[in-house]
Symmetry: C2
Subunit: 153 residues, 2 copies
């Protein structure tokens, strides 16, 4: 059982932006986490569309949280970015399992999924940021192959 890497990256971006004292760039976040910049680009685009992140262009530009961290509910983010909650075949539109019309397992799994999301609804991004400095410090560790961060001086 996994959540997608895409959702994982979305949460990492939000944590980074919440912890960072200034605007950031996608290149910088990709470098700090050592993850794919093109993957991050898609993730950030959706976060902008969903109203969690805002970007400004030009000198001093970059991306930042579009609202206070305390107003970013983690369960809500996961629902929006994870997208596919087809836990098992019968959750999907193309279900082929014959017993679906009478099967009570689906209801139990659905209830379990709701419990999963309900826990995450109990957290906002702010809950993950009391140790923002420690998080940023962990990301300052020099990398083996540092890249130029296109961040305005």
């Amino acid at each position: 059982m996994h959540i997608t890497q895409y959702t994982d990256y979305a949460l990492r971006v939000l944590i980074y932006l919440g912890a960072s004292p200034e605007r950031a760039t996608i290149a910088e976040i990709a470098e700090r986490y050592q993850i794919s910049r093109s993957h991050l680009m898609k993730v950030v685009n959706q976060l902008v569309q969903e109203g969690y992140v805002e970007g400004t262009r030009g000198k001093g530009g970059g991306i930042a949280l579009a609202r206070p961290a305390a107003q970013i509910v983690i369960g809500e983010v996961v629902r929006k970015v994870e997208g596919d909650f087809t836990l098992v075949e019968c959750f999907g539109a193309d279900n082929q399992c014959r017993i679906a019309p009478a099967c009570r397992l689906k209801g139990a799994l659905y209830q379990a999924l709701q419990a999963f999301l309900a826990v995450l609804d109990g957290y906002t991004l702010a809950d993950f940021l009391p140790n923002a400095e420690a998080l940023m410090a962990l990301m300052q560790v020099p990398t083996a192959h540092p890249v130029q961060l296109h961040r305005p001086a």
Copy 2:
């Protein structure tokens, strides 16, 4: 977010065996659900190893539940057959995410996972079987390409 097809099949096998009035064969279950017989074989092997299913050979042989349905806890089955609960990278041994030592998201996700499993711990196989006849009836529907069921007469 998904659980594996393997776990889905394990649960389907248990439901089938719980609903069936007599011993079944893997070929029969594969035919009724129209799923791969070789996949089912692996699933049933594990269910036998875990003590949920027992098999007998020879005439009148086949597989059946190894214990009463009320003693088969769904959360326990899912824990055993799903195997990999690496929800995100940092749950795994080969985590590369730098902020893991200070990240509180992992704890929240772990708590959500426990809530998911706790719901399933509240169900036994018996909870899915009050309508066993309806389940069996759904599986009796003739298939487009019926195969010979190697079931003893």
